[in-house]
């Protein structure tokens, strides 16, 4: 346990000692701010139209403002998270520090989990900054906090999946750019996997098609996020994300181990 913490601490320190943390957090908050402004603007205009048109019904700020905001924020993660994960293993291998880690009395799993927690911490800090925008909503309106909390939980799990995949890709190469680009492509494929679902019947025929469609829909990591945005914590989705993360980390562990054997 102390080894995991030492490793996670080292990772976080490495992020903040280099420009990575500042660039990632800074740019993410700028983009998030732009999204926030655009959606807020749209929401206010809708509200005014509603007030002028028909009667007393007011717009739900959670449904109409915060949920779409988080939906859009997930798109940003597609671009930002590869920058967090691409260095995890690639950098250690390039600098030779991997030799230190693998010859220390610390298991591969401890290294792996430490690295994962380190990246997750930076990601959580990045999400933490966006709280500032939401606090402003509380000052001028009365949003419910519970759906916001579940959305953050959803974002953390969703990002966790990407981090696990990103670390796996980073363990394949010594080159950070290659790792970053490959991670982005894999993320994007996972993103659009449900687009293929609609054409599954055409590709696989009427007998196998519906099954493939269901599987592809289930694998789409964006679809599992929906309920979190609505304020629902469904164990089905939590289990999906947690098992996705576990599987990603397991493959990373295998990848690191196989590198040892191959030399």
């Amino acid at each position: 346990m102390s080894n995991i913490l030492a490793m996670a601490q080292k990772e976080v320190r490495a992020y903040f000692a280099s420009p990575i943390a500042y660039v990632v957090i800074g740019l993410f908050s700028v983009l998030f701010g732009v999204f926030y402004y655009a959606i807020l603007d749209w929401f206010v205009k809708q509200g005014m139209q509603m007030a002028m048109g028909m009667g007393p019904q007011s717009l739900n700020v959670n449904e109409r403002m915060i949920r779409p905001l988080f939906q859009n924020a997930t798109v940003l993660l597609l671009f930002v998270l590869p920058m967090i994960t691409m260095r995890t293993y690639a950098e250690e291998k390039r600098s030779g520090a991997m030799e230190l880690l693998l010859t220390s009395p610390i298991t591969d799993i401890e290294i792996l989990v430490g690295k994962f927690l380190g990246a997750l911490t930076l990601y959580a800090a990045m999400l933490g900054v966006t709280l500032v925008y939401l606090v402003a909503l509380f000052a001028f309106g009365t949003p419910e906090w519970k759906p916001i909390a579940t959305a953050y939980l959803g974002l953390l799990l969703f990002g966790g999946c990407f981090i696990a995949v990103g670390m796996l890709v980073s363990s394949f190469t010594k080159n950070q750019i290659v790792a970053g680009m490959m991670t982005f492509v894999v993320f994007l494929l996972l993103w659009v996997i449900d687009w293929l679902a609609s054409s599954a019947t055409g590709l696989f025929g009427t007998s196998a098609g519906p099954v493939v469609e269901e599987v592809l829909n289930y694998l789409s990591i964006t679809q599992h996020f929906d309920d979190f945005g609505k304020g629902i914590i469904d164990t089905k989705h939590v289990i999906f994300y947690v098992s996705f993360i576990t599987f990603g980390l397991f493959l990373t562990a295998r990848s690191v181990d196989s590198e040892r054997w191959r030399g």
Partner: protein, 327 residues
């Protein structure tokens, strides 16, 4: 302390290390010699548990490196060819991190870091970022990292590479000081380093061990005969026949000629000291004896002899001088 038994390591179809067996006793310094690509680094990586062997096993401090890796690694310090530093960390941060993952108790960490920095003379750079260190300091921080948890076994891959002469002497002294309490395996391509620091030498080529012995024994064993270099100021005299007349001499050859001073190589059977007789012969002829010294094969020549298939022709006139120049 370290037992390497029938170690074989293959990368795909390439055999990097082929059935290597040797032992290192407690407190000993073992030198690991070999041309580039001979399998030195691979062997060291298997000893330190960085990679598993294809066949055979390695036992460090009583623990099989493959079966009980954590116990073995806790007792091993390793300096790879490139010091494994984190560029963004300061030296102190880095060493503290290494102390943590090497299992140094939190109460001892500060003292261990300070001691390692003192021993390797990097304390003045404690707050400097690793990225901004010079090559010599990097190497020494790498050494500090290897000794931080006071391991029984130290594996050093070219510990003096990239250091200036003063630092090399200091590092060698440090390594010698560490021996006794630590068991050390070091690889190097600087041959005099081996004769100065190591008690035993393993010469490896193409993945196979070709010689294991003390540097002195190697120098003796591989030389077939004793050779003396004699320089006399007898330009016109026939010294060759005079030397041949000395009992025990098997061969006399002209070596060099500088004006009146003429150098000869005089060979005799092994274990046959003919210096006294040679000196007497020179004096009886009335010549001046300018120089008389034994020629030994330098480690360079032994190294070449055992690592190349064709035995190179011996050039004794350079033998002594290379060793001296290198020192």
């Amino acid at each position: 302390m370290i037992e390497v038994q029938h170690l074989t390591k293959r990368y795909g179809r390439v055999t990097a290390v082929d059935d290597v067996t040797f032992r290192v006793e407690r407190g000993e310094i073992l030198g690991f010699l070999g041309p580039n690509g001979a399998g030195k680094t691979t062997t060291m990586r298997v000893i330190t548990g960085y990679m598993p062997p294809t066949q055979g096993k390695v036992i460090v401090a009583g623990f099989d490196v493959f079966d009980q890796p954590i116990d073995a690694k806790r007792r091993t310090g390793y300096l790879p060819e490139t010091p494994p530093l984190y560029p963004d960390m300061t030296v102190r941060e880095y060493l503290t991190f290494v102390a943590k993952i090497k299992g140094v108790q939190s109460g001892d960490r500060f003292a261990r870091v300070a001691e390692a920095m003192k021993k390797t003379a990097v304390a003045d750079m404690a707050e400097r970022q690793c990225a901004k260190l010079s090559k010599g300091y990097r190497q020494r921080v790498g050494l500090a990292q290897a000794i931080i948890h006071n391991p029984d076994v130290l594996v050093l891959d070219e510990p003096t590479a990239g250091l200036d002469p003063k630092q090399i002497i200091e590092t060698r002294q440090l390594i010698k000081d560490l021996a006794g309490t630590h068991t050390i395996v070091l690889s190097t391509h600087i041959l005099p380093e081996v004769s100065q620091t190591c008690q035993r030498v393993v010469i490896i080529t193409k993945g196979k061990v070709v010689a294991v012995d003390t540097p002195d024994n190697l120098t003796h064993r591989l030389a077939g005969a004793e050779t003396m270099y004699v320089q006399v100021d007898a330009a016109d005299a026939d010294a060759t026949s005079a030397f041949q007349a000395v009992a025990g001499v098997t061969r006399v050859g002209l070596s060099d000629r500088h004006g009146p001073a003429v150098g000869y190589e005089v060979e005799s059977a092994r274990g046959h000291d003919i210096r006294r007789e040679l000196a007497a012969a020179v004096v009886s002829k009335g010549w001046g004896l300018l120089e008389l010294r034994p020629l030994r094969m330098s480690l360079e020549e032994i190294f070449l002899q055992v690592t190349t298939e064709e035995v190179p022709s011996r050039k004794p006139e350079s033998a002594g001088s290379i060793e001296e120049a290198a020192q």
